[in-house]
Amino acid sequence: MNGTEPRKHTISVLVENKFGVLSRVAGLFSARGYNIESLSVGETLDPTVSRMTLVVGGDEFVIEQVMKQLHKLIDVIKVNDLTDESHVERELMLIRVNAEPQHREEILRTADIFRAKVVDVTQVSFVLEATGDEGKLEGLVELLRPMGIQEIVRTGKVAISRGSKTRVRKAEPAKRPRVSDDPRVVGFAD
């Protein structure tokens, strides 16, 4: 089938916070040959529910199948493609960069411009912590590259839709027992 040009989609998935869910989602991608660029998982306001944020590349038909296949998983509550709706995306990046005396000033200035924090300092290196969308983080990496980047660690994207949608559900105290009280649920690390 002829789809549109492949592009990156940010897909937000609400899942039951049960063991094995992460592997169901990851298994789906490997079994069907979809290309997953990043995946991040965290608990939501309701501790029995987790949110996964997936970045997936593909044309319109691939993404449609990805959405349907995700929805078909029994533990998936809701699947939402945020790509074409108003939303905010952020990623956290830690960078350890060479910091020779002649470069230290410039690195700090650059970090300042990107509102990155210095979280570790040695005689010869800095570790910077930066948050932002993909474009901003790529920009920072490009500027630091000439100094010599030793290592980069990124969290993968998280995303949230803007506006009223996020206010529909009011924050309320958790009525359900905590996840850790439920012997069936051992979290994703299990």
């Binding site: 089938m1 899942v15 039951e16 063991f19 094995g20 592997s23 169901r24 298994g27 079994a31 038909f61 449609e64 199948q65 349907k68 296949q69 929805h71 078909k72 029994i74 533990d75 998936v76 509550i77 012997p183 069936r184």
Partner: protein, 586 residues
């Protein structure tokens, strides 16, 4: 509903299975599930059928499920038993058969320790099931088993696996049995979209060359009566997939029989030239479509399916309708009636189409060359069909015999045809037939099998004998892996490799060794008397029919070819060259 009754976990499992309305389970005991077998010792109301290999328990549960419309249940132990079962789970997954499989697991404190007969059961079955569970607390047994049965039979049916650690089976726990299953993450959609149904009705009436393409979904949703009503009302011809055989009577004037790789010439031609194709409970499998860009290229495609992910997966659909086949077809019949009252029924404009189909039917019927000396396999199927008047429960293995059975048996009813369609599991026949026979003790159950396929689960003859399941097996014996031979002959230039099964074992002696009756025929004139003798024998029978080993299944669409590239007769050099060009792999 909480009953505040404390029972050992094993007892809870049996109690829950019984409450789900199951009367037969297929299983094989072992260390980790011994507590369940101990509870079974004096448990009333469940028949346990002891199989000889775990995959057979799974296939028998599949046969039972398909024959009854209920959930089939199997029970095996941990480790190797679970890994043996995986084939049956995947088989049920691909053919959407509702089964619940229980496996034993090592005690919870040993999980992950590489304990004896331990395997990561749920990890292994995850992709082979619709859903699976590992029970970690006795009080969850009831709710989990309830959910397992609910998931298996609702929406698009499929296999569900429940893994039971031994300590959970031993410890006492409260029996919790929720009256109703509610799951926030699982709510299949049954009602089709009214607007889409109206669009579909209009398209069907407007069509000049419409075809109904019907799959196993019509059988699992019990929609055969609605299908027939719609077809007769609109006079639209019906072709079925391998899994859909029996959803529409083979000898109905509107029946085109099976389509696809080994479908009839007229079914494939009709689909190819159609202007509206109505897919009902079918999934555009590659064995049906052939080359997708050449499949029904002129048709507006309407697709009715319970599974949204089936829609526009392989072929772009113009009118998708997500819902239960039965409900959607019922609504479609009403919508067609309304539209017909409002205007023309379009029958006049379709006359040339029916004439064209009749022409295709006349010029290229299903056919084979008769021989007085050697038995033609197609003839055997025809005679089985005649002898049973299309009323038997027909089960098959996988291979040439399966395709001949699909082509030449005249199906009259749904839920009377059992075959491994999606996964193509050789060895499916005998164990599935046991499940069908156990569900319907009074019915004639015939397993049409191949000598290669039957050998993969022939140990189940012991189960048939001991459990008094008088399954009749007809081995279409061509002394080899016939379908592989056919491919090597037509596509791989007759470089025959690893296909010979030269007359071993002696099936008659094997039948006798298992306490069953063995018969053999080698001449065409012996076929009918042997079938009659087989059908009148009250015990399990093997009828070994030595057939022409050079016979091929035709029509045949080479893999990767378009359905109009059908090979209709034994290949000449030119045909072989053409097949080679369009071949893109298996």
């Amino acid at each position: 509903m909480e009953e505040h009754v404390k029972l050992p976990g094993a007892r809870i499992v049996l109690e829950c299975i019984k409450r789900e309305g199951v009367d037969i389970i297929f299983g094989l005991p072992g260390g980790a599930v011994l507590p369940i077998y101990d509870a079974l010792y004096d448990f009333e109301g469940l028949r346990h059928i002891l199989v000889r290999q775990e995959a057979a328990a799974g296939h028998a549960a599949e046969g039972y499920a398909r024959a009854t419309g209920k959930v089939g249940v199997c029970l095996v132990t941990s480790g190797p038993a679970c890994t043996n079962l995986v084939t049956a789970l995947q088989d049920a997954m691909m053919d959407s058969i509702p089964i619940v499989a229980f496996t034993g697991q090592v005690p919870t404190h040993l999980i992950g320790n590489d304990a004896f007969q331990e395997a990561d059961n749920v990890g292994i079955t995850r992709s082979a099931t619709k859903h699976n569970f590992l029970v970690k607390d006795g009080k969850d047994l009831g709710p989990i088993i309830r959910e397992a049965f609910h998931i298996a039979i609702t929406g698009r049916p499929g296999p569900v696996h429940v893994d039971l650690p031994k300590d959970i089976l031993v410890k006492e726990a409260e029996l919790i049995w929720p009256e109703k299953v509610t799951m926030r993450s699982y709510n299949p959609n049954y009602e089709g979209h009214a607007g889409q149904i109206k669009r579909a009705a209009k398209a069907m009436l407007r069509a000049k060359k419409p075809v109904l393409y019907v799959g196993g979904g019509v059988i699992s949703s019990n929609a055969h009566a609605e299908l027939r009503e719609l077809a007769e009302l609109t006079q639209i011809p019906v072709t079925t997939t391998l899994m859909g055989l029996g959803a529409f009577p083979s000898e109905h004037p509107l029946s085109l029989e099976m389509l696809g790789m080994h479908g009839t010439y007229y079914a494939n031609m009709a689909v190819h030239h159609s202007d509206v194709l109505v897919a009902v409970g079918a999934r555009f499998d590659d064995r049906v479509t052939g080359r997708v860009d050449a499949f029904a290229p002129h048709a507006e495609i309407i697709h009715i399916d319970i599974d949204p992910s089936s829609i526009s997966k392989n072929i772009k659909v113009d009118v998708p309708i997500v819902g239960d086949c039965r409900r959607v077809l019922r609504a479609l019949v009403e919508a067609v009636r309304e539209e017909t009252n409002a205007g023309s029924d379009g029958q006049e404009a379709r006359r040339p189409w029916h004439a064209q189909i009749a022409e295709w039917r006349k010029t290229q019927p299903l056919r084979y060359e008769w021989s007085d000396d050697v038995i033609k396999p197609q003839y055997v199927i025809q005679e089985i069909s005649n002898a049973t008047r299309g009323e038997a429960m027909i089960v098959t293995g996988v291979g040439q015999h399966q395709m001949w059975a699909a082509q030449y048996y005249k199906f009259t009813h749904p839920r009377a045809w059992f075959t491994s369609g999606g996964l193509g599991t050789m060895g499916y026949g005998l164990p599935a037939a046991m499940g069908v026979q156990a569900a319907h003790p009074g019915r004639q159950v015939i397993n049409i099998d191949g000598d290669g396929s039957f050998a993969m689960n022939s140990q189940e003859l012991a189960t048939c004998f001991v459990e008094k399941l008088p399954v009749k097996t007809v081995i279409i014996n061509n002394s080899g892996h016939g379908m592989v031979r056919q491919w090597q002959r037509i596509i791989f230039k007759e470089r025959y490799c690893a296909i010979d099964l030269p007359g071993i074992p002696d099936w008659v002696k094997l039948a006798e060794a298992y306490g069953c009756v063995g018969l053999r025929v080698t001449k065409p004139s012996e076929v009918v008397p042997a079938i009659e003798k087989m059908l009148s024998t009250p015990a399990p029978v093997i009828l070994d029919v030595c057939v022409d080993k050079d016979e091929c299944v035709f029509p045949m669409v080479p893999a990767g070819g378009a359905n109009t590239d059908m090979i209709l007769a034994p290949p000449t050099r030119e045909v072989r060259d053409r097949a080679e060009k369009s071949q893109t792999g298996f």
